[in-house]
Amino acid sequence: MHSTHKSEGDTPRRPESGLWGWLSRRTGLDDLLRSALNEPIPGGARFAYIFGSGLLFIFTSQVITGIFLALYYVPSADHAHTTVAYITKAVTAGSFLRSLHAYGASAMVVVLFLHLSQTYIYGSYKGRRELLWLSGCVLFGLVLAMAFTGYLLPWDQRAYFATAVGTNAVSEVPWIGESIKRLLRGGTEMGTLTISRFFVAHVFLIPAFIFTLAASHIFLFRKAGAAGPVNEDLYDPKQEAELFYPRQVVMDLSLTALLIVGLGLLCFFVPVRLGPPANPADAQYVPRPEWYYLPIFQWLKYWHGSAAIIGVLVVPMLLVLAILALPFLDRSVERRPWKRPAAMGAYAFVVFSLLGLGLRSQFLDQHDSGVARQLSKQSAEEDEYARKPFEPELSSASLAAANVALADPLAAKGKAIFEGQSCNACHGDGGVGTAAAPALIGIGTKFSPDQLAELFKHPTAKMNAGGMSPIDLPPDDLKALIAYVESLK
């Protein structure tokens, strides 16, 4: 059996010509491609091995769609929702791309679960693959963190309240829980600082870690070699190997094609909805996380008071530690699932527990008439908001001008006098100033109302020279005018 890829490099190759040949000679691209494609798979290509490259594909898609979404998105509490609404309702293909990004996150979790299950069931974490397994576990955590941080960014009701609950759960951790929550939120309450933090984590921090770890994961995989089928020796593969290219490549591409078609149809026909903007004052809102967080959401419901530490910290920590330590604890070389009843039992227990908790959460929601009614009301509100055409956000400058009239009736009356007396002729609308006369904005901080009244009735010599004539108004009108001028900021 001489089925090692070492013989690959020894065989003489035709010298490539043309642009590709030149590029290969300069960069070594050809060798790189060959070593990537000529990875030997003991026992041959199988559909069981397609999930890793599927994850790589979705991650790439998430990076690309994410970059494009950032063309229009603004991470702040007062613009986030408007900009996502703009993407969804106004920008061409915006709803499709946002849906691709949002459903892509779900698809990532699904394919990740399949990838992890395959590795676990095939016992592919064994045989000097501890670091490969560890890097995979950390990547799993990072993907869940991406889903959590990305979920908040549209800043609609659903996102706001789900994240409020999610960050609140952290505060159950004894001693430092409250501090961690504050650190995550950027304050005691959810707000614009929370968006900034989640945005930085979602767009800069976590992706940087994912890039690094995914590269390490692939490197470690190639270093350890493909594990092959369950009856293959982990240290010294005996079965006839088949190269990654072409059959495994075609199998991997079939998953990619399935993902493209599936996600494409879903995004086109059932685009992701954007609900009404977050209203923190809404006390009625029943928060529900995205489906993959439902089991944890349901689990946390069972733990209250002094027992909370067990449910929120001890059990999850033990589970995470057990998963991380798996290749160190399970040193046997046995890979066949039917010979590993304890490992398979534990897997089934965890999967059915998660499934059970998720379904329990759904069941409770459907059978509590109050909750069911509120949830359907929330869904109806989302539908209603989704149907409305996009409404641009009023800029803060316009709001300030409009609010003067709303805030103080006396100032509103003064505004009418300001315009009626043609004060705005020289001082500009809203007292912004013109070539003929100075701006009045902020004058209230320089002069008291009494001083202003005096100046209005008896302008200084300099003011007279500039064309300001004394104002002769009934006392009430003068008071209103002063109130308006004082309000200009």
Partner: protein, 176 residues
């Protein structure tokens, strides 16, 4: 197409029974996959390109026409009438709303004209003076006739006319 890999003959050009070498069959598949990936990639790029080219496909910044009032309100106009109009400037996902005073008046042929109240001299706001039947700028005493043409003073031209249109019996103006 079911070669077991790892054998040297997989990667060395060697004529096979069918007359096609394994290498060239692998290359043919490679070209097929490459082309397929290229076309799928190009297809996937379509929504991305449309998304990024949105400012070319649609208006993203826009100055909306501002309603001045119903045409019937101005049918028996005898002197310029001041109106405060709201100007809406759309800028991507935001809009700025500002208020400006304009004068609705009649031109020499009796057609409706809308004048800005901004003096063409230095930008002061020009009020209509009933007593003088003229626009008189308070800053440097430039005067204009009821239709906005220059009468006297430092201004070099008459008051600026705004572009108007009529929609559903409403007089609209474009403030620029």
């Amino acid at each position: 197409m079911y070669e077991r890999a790892g054998h040297p003959e997989n990667t060395t050009p060697k004529p096979s029974g069918s007359g096609l070498s394994l290498e060239s069959r692998r290359s043919f598949l490679g070209v097929l996959l490459g082309l397929g990936s290229f076309f799928v990639g190009a297809l996937l790029a379509v929504p991305l390109i449309r998304f990024a080219l949105f400012p070319l496909l649609r208006r993203t910044t826009e100055l909306k026409n501002s309603p001045v009032g119903a045409l019937s309100e101005f049918s028996s106009l005898t002197e310029p009438m001041m109106r405060i109009i709201q100007i809406e400037q759309v800028d991507g996902w935001r809009k700025a709303v500002s208020e400006k005073a304009v004068y609705v008046t009649k031109g020499s042929q009796g057609q409706l004209r809308v004048l800005t109240s901004i003096c063409p001299h230095l930008g002061c706001t020009v009020p209509w003076s009933k007593e003088k039947s003229q626009f008189v700028c308070p800053c440097h005493s430039a005067t204009f006739a009821a239709d906005g043409t220059r009468v006297s003073g430092p201004s070099l031209r008459g008051m600026d006319t705004l572009e108007t249109s009529v929609q559903d019996g409403q007089l609209l103006v474009r403030f620029q």
